[in-house]
Amino acid sequence: MTYRKFLAASALALIASGAWAKTDIIVGMQLEPPHLDPTSAAAGAIDSVLYSNVFEGLTRFASDGSIVAGLAKSWDISEDGLTYTFHLNEGVKFHDGTDMNAEDVKFSLDRARAADSQNAQKALFAGIASVDVVDPATVKVTLSAPNGAFLFNMAWGDAVIVAPESIENIKQAPVGTGAFKFANWVQGDRIELAKNDGYWGTPAKLDAVTFKFISDPTAAFAAVMAEDVNVFAGFPAPENLAQFGADPRFLVLVGSTEGETILSTNNKMPPFDNVKVREALAHAINRQEIIDGAMFGYGTPIGTHFAPHNPDYVDLAAQSAYDPELSKKLLAEAGFPDGFKTTLKLPPPSYARRGGEIIAAQLRAVGIETEISNLEWAQWLEEVFKGKDYGLTIVSHTEPADINIYARPEYYFQYDSAAFQGLMADLNNATDPAKRSEILKAAQKMIADDYVNGYLFQLAALSVANAKVKGLWTNAPTQATDLTAVYWEE
């Protein structure tokens, strides 16, 4: 910072306390992105920083989870549902000054679906047969089969549009089209964004954004309390929220996420291959106690693998209501009157660790002994997800609209149901909203009836902000901290 800039900044700071509002913000979050390419890693932290702020896709998620226009201002879908023609916004420039046009769209989509692609969600692009540039402002995507979720897929952070000119250094110096541009990254500490003055759409109200990475929940609490950060997105310690709520300096935002938190069950491992045992498991669990104990009351009970805020949601929680006596009876019927022993492997988040302790106690009450082991994510991926070496685990599935994972027999909970796979195939082919809704409801019912997993609760999106900060998203339809509309109230 030069001296003059410094003077200007201090003058600004002086005035800010008076008439003008602050135009910079410090946002705390728990996880630091490993690198800054949203199209080649699963880390949600990348999207949390960059989605919509720096990078944009053809379509995008709105704060209520609906799909709205992004870089494509409109699109046409062919009768057979196989061809999508996107009409791009004009005059869009990347932060390095180059134009964003159909060539870039083709490049981005082709890169994501290439043989050597490193895209973590390559399945999103699996149905694309070809991408053709019609003219600089028009691009035509041809699918090999109809896909009702295609526009939804294109809204993911893994489908944002990148430029071939800057792809080389994207992991360190991302160049996108968003309202903010990347400014600086002090690894281990913070990432700074600056306002993009040449933004094609509604300009951002803030001039500067700093994301600060604070992994320790206690440190997060201290940072907010000491006002070292103005916003903490995804606050990791729900127990502290009541305290913030009581403090007039802060505002607590409680919204919904796409995270179905489930007690995943290894459907191929005896005795869980017996549906009676799984049903017994479901009745042994007291959801409210878990929500109160692990999440301090934040979270919505669910009875199937579907987000409650979704219009197609069916509330099936009563079907697996807490009933330990019934559970014991079912266990006895299944041939386990004295219960059995199994493993409960827990990944790092506190919902899993605390929830695991509570579930272990609840299962013990019906005679099921669990041996808890706390795993790091890498271990969890290796042992549970890949190796399928587990009895039970707790994890939150945060990908939006992901009920289709139940159609994958090799998926880690190993649910292999031809009926359900058929339902999903139908869903893919259906483009009629009513038809899709009907299929989705049936699917929810089917996995609830099969007691595939223990459905616990929908993870809440918990954020704390300075009371004067406005325009933040309350809900988290995807992992994003959209700051394009955020401003300080005077």
């Binding site: 305290q243 795993l375 271990q379």
Partner: protein, 272 residues
């Protein structure tokens, strides 16, 4: 005089926690595997002398059972350190100046050079977190400590005339080490053992704090601290009592070590 005071004070504190651990096998105020979410984070009361935690468990019971974990981990870690370190130190001293001595001592230096916490984290990353792996991680770094202390003390003993007399009596190095050296370094080993014991309790707390120690539902002081950290302003008792338990136990052991050193040191005893 001062030695006596710290010895008794230290012994007293240590015994209190050892006793708490022993009693917990037979009786605790409330079963620590029983959760009572509705009763969570209650401040100290007659029903719960030290209050309850975030899952409604009785903190006094948790501390009593947790003492078992802390004591067991630290004790076994000291056992590993002594069991391997003392023979190594004796061997090195018996072959002082020789290649065996050189290898053992260089090996020691090498272990010392490794950052202990990082290696502990790696060990738990390999074998998964558990009390056993915490023991191994702490125990490994106890080995060179005991090897050094043993060797240092043994070296000065090897120059004594009575060792020469034993050699004249035809005794070999191993036999002399066991018969003559070991009993005479025992004092020092006991003192060092107490110190390593207290360091072990702190290390276990540190490892549990980062989630690498004993796994739930086994209570552990370090994990109690870690779990209560975010609630420290909501329910301070949850963080204060396990913290005090660690502090007082370590303090007790250190005082006892100090007192033992003064009491066992013949130099100081003669002066008294």
């Amino acid at each position: 005089m001062k030695g006596r005071v710290s010895l008794w004070l230290g012994l007293g504190l240590t015994l209190v926690f050892a006793l708490a651990a022993a009693v917990s096998f037979l009786w605790v105020p409330q079963d620590v595997t029983q959760l009572a979410i509705a009763n969570k984070m209650k401040p100290p009361s007659l029903a719960h002398l030290l209050g309850t935690d975030h899952l409604g468990r009785d903190i006094l019971s948790m501390i009593m059972v947790g003492a078992r974990t802390s004591i067991a981990v630290a004790l076994v870690a000291v056992g590993i350190g002594m069991g391997l370190g003392v023979p190594l130190g004796l061997t090195a001293a018996a072959h002082r100046g020789g290649w065996l001595d050189e290898i053992i001592m260089r090996g020691n230096d090498l272990v010392f050079a490794f950052p202990s916490l990082i290696i502990a984290i790696l060990i738990t990353a390999v074998f998964g977190p558990s009390a056993l792996n915490a023991i191994i991680a702490i125990g490994i770094f106890n080995i060179p400590v005991f090897a050094r202390v043993t060797r240092g003390a043994a070296l000065s003993l090897w120059t004594r005339d009575w060792i020469m007399a034993a050699r004249v009596a035809g005794k070999g190095k191993a036999r002399i080490s066991v018969e003559h050296i070991l009993p005479n370094v025992l004092n020092l080993l006991i003192v060092q053992g107490t110190i390593q014991f207290s360091l072990g309790i702190l290390a276990e707390a540190g490892l549990s704090y980062v989630g690498l120690g004993a796994q739930p539902p086994t209570p552990s002081w370090g994990r109690m601290l870690a779990e209560s950290q975010t609630m420290i302003s909501l329910a301070p008792h949850m963080a204060i009592f396990p913290g005090l338990a660690i502090l007082l136990t370590v303090l007790g052991l250190n005082l006892m070590g100090d007192g033992l050193r003064d009491w066992l040191d013949p130099r100081l005893r003669r002066a008294r």
